[in-house]
Subunit: 308 residues, 3 copies
């Protein structure tokens, strides 16, 4: 029997396919209920604490809206400097205090491993909303949910991950989750920003994985193109950056090279990696992807609190 | 048939007299219900996002309290720096993302035209809570609502607008809305801070408008005196500021020169434009005016979301 | 007939034993209801405004969670700089405006007396959540509630207050409240940081009070040890600080010197005044104490708004 009651959500690779299916099924049900204008009460009387030691408006609002849509309530620490940590309090003590105020805790923290540490400090369910360069598991879950919705399936697809694969938390986690499915991965990055070897080796043990610096080649072969930002400051050689940056801007022209309707995704915020003209394309899924964060996080909140 | 369902609230001059009457009627009904302690549920299950790219505690709290009084819920971005805009995201992308989280968006932004741009980005209703030196339409609506409540009517009144009429967004919008009514306007400002010519010309096409630097003269003739702040930094000549600043402080003595009970208004916060001794005067309406923001914003939220 | 309806909560010493008993009884009832998972609606339709002119995450979240647990709603100003005070508005005007938005106001302010001033400005109940070096009455109420819960009684106990007794708002207020009970107080501080003479004199008029710099001696005699932070910057002589600071770190070894189970309390956040190994001790009550803030503040909110 699959269940997530009282469990923490800490890493993208903690989930089995069965658990991902349960989350997706629950999310779909909530999405339809909200679309019908149904007022839900599954988390009535429950309180979520969003504890953000670094700001992330998008993620915070998405969790808060998810909690409110379920009839729950929210208390929020949106700003690091107003927290007791500024007075020298340990994360352990902060969590022990917050557990007295809330039934479930969503934590964003600049340090890798902070969510694990928080989860060890409390019996309340902790959901990791990003721990530095570490994990951001709910992003990966909504990414897979989006692929499933856009394509009707995940197995059998070719997915291109594009951008700074060396430093990108999002693509590390997503590639791990996708390796649970029968997916062919194309990793598109400049040589200097390739996916870490240990992740690639682990993936190759399970799936077909190709690496290329060529975005256009990937677009031609992929069902899903997952764009991420390339940051200038990651390049040792500025001329290398200048040479490559334009290769990693997805244009309408490039998209037309794809076979059929290519689904374009992006964790947002975008700077200029996807031309705004692409927004009109029926395959441009990134704003739908952001909206999918609500039902997926509703599902997680309801499941870990044991409400359903 | 007058209606505002799914409409945006962007400019003070977008409203007809019929629409203003509908808003006022709805606001009055809500005000009475709240005063009776009735728990309203008209926006149950709905979420408002207050998106403030510059801080404005008063306006934000007023919208949030209005939404909560209607049984709705709120997610909030109160601080500009914690928003994705800091990462280089366009307003269009921010709005496209936020529309996935909320049923109605209240936007405050430092740039003129930002609310119009936001409204074009989404099908969700957008309410402009101030766009730089541009518009602040809900302030004008609550101002007119206040005049109606305090005086029992708007037509036939003489209204003096006092202060920095050149730069004051509030008085620009209010004068436009008042020109829908049979109102005589007295514009009281130093010569250097007169109302822009194009606004005055447009007003004069419809109503009797006088301009004077003399506050006392205006008080003697007006039914309503609408005070605003004069800011030192607006003056090219500091001696001119020193000479004028005291003329624009409303005292009890000046108020006694008025005919009958003069209604004194102010968009707040006040610094020293109205002596605190005036607060005791039965005509001092500025705190009642601030409180009127709740029912007026309740009416707008309920109308634009189509809840009523 | 004891009652708190429409009263302000401004000072720890405003309460009679009967009022403290009423608050504790109400808090106990709420605590049990929440523990049973009951969804309360006592403050349904009511709005709390948390107005924090200086940040205090812990206190703010505790009040907000209390309000939400009662079925009420919250609007919040968590950051001083986003408030209208930054534009030069007086506290009086801010409160007069906020009273239009909320049914009860919780105020945190850096200036002594700010809460009293706020209470004079409005008919809405005002709860003081800390006014500079002044009062923090709800902390004292939850402290007494905690002692009662941990020890089953307050009368007859020996309570040691430890740390910077000169500057500590928390210990000033708590000692005043405890003087309503038959309690023996041991005041433990370095000579330079002793409790102000006027407070000690007032206490001595009613209770047995001893002063000592010796923490271990106090632990041996006390039923309750209330630790607070000692701040380096309070010492004129740094060598004095270096000499004393270790005497005021509560260790497991020291705790074992106590008679029976010593209850250890701390208003939190802790820096290093209590070794983390003490957390495992059954008498370590500080996290339970923090959690007790919820039912005690629920009781206060319900009582002052007249909801019960």
């Amino acid at each position: 029997m699959v269940g997530l009651s009282q469990k923490d959500v800490l890493r993208a690779d903690q989930f089995s396919r069965e658990e991902i299916a349960l989350i997706a099924k629950t999310a779909r049900r909530y999405e339809e209920a909200v679309a019908r204008g149904k007022v839900l009460r599954d988390l009535r009387g429950k309180i979520l604490c969003t504890l953000f030691f670094e700001p992330s408006t998008r993620t915070r609002l998405s969790f808060e809206a998810a909690m409110l849509r379920l009839g729950g309530q929210v208390v929020s620490v949106a700003e690091p400097k107003s927290s007791s940590a500024a007075k020298g309090e340990s994360l352990h003590d902060t969590i022990r205090t917050v557990e007295g105020y809330a039934d479930v805790i969503v934590l964003r923290h600049p340090e890798i491993g902070a969510a694990d540490k928080a989860a060890r400090s409390t019996n309340r369910p902790v959901i990791n909303a990003g721990d530095g360069a570490g994990q951001h598991p709910t992003q990966s879950l909504l990414d897979v949910y989006t692929i499933q919705k856009e394509k009707g399936k995940v197995d059998g697809l070719t997915v291109a991950l594009v951008g700074d694969l060396k430093n990108g938390r999002t693509v590390h986690s997503l590639s791990q989750v996708l390796s649970l499915f029968d997916v062919r991965l194309i990793l598109v990055s400049p040589p200097a920003l390739r996916m870490p070897r240990e992740i690639v080796e682990a993936l190759k043990g399970r799936r077909v994985v190709e690496e290329t610096p060529d975005l256009l080649k990937a677009v031609r072969e992929a069902d899903v193109v997952y764009m991420t930002r390339i940051q200038r400051e990651r390049f040792a050689d500025p001329t290398e950056y200048e040479r490559l940056k334009d290769s990693y801007i997805l244009t309408q022209e490039a998209l037309r090279e794809g076979k059929g309707r290519v689904t374009v995704m992006h964790p947002l915020p975008r700077v200029n990696e996807i031309e705004t003209s692409v927004d009109q394309d029926s395959g441009a899924a990134y704003f739908r992807q952001a909206a999918n964060g609500i039902p997926v996080r509703m599902a997680l909140l309801a499941l870990v609190t044991g409400a359903i």
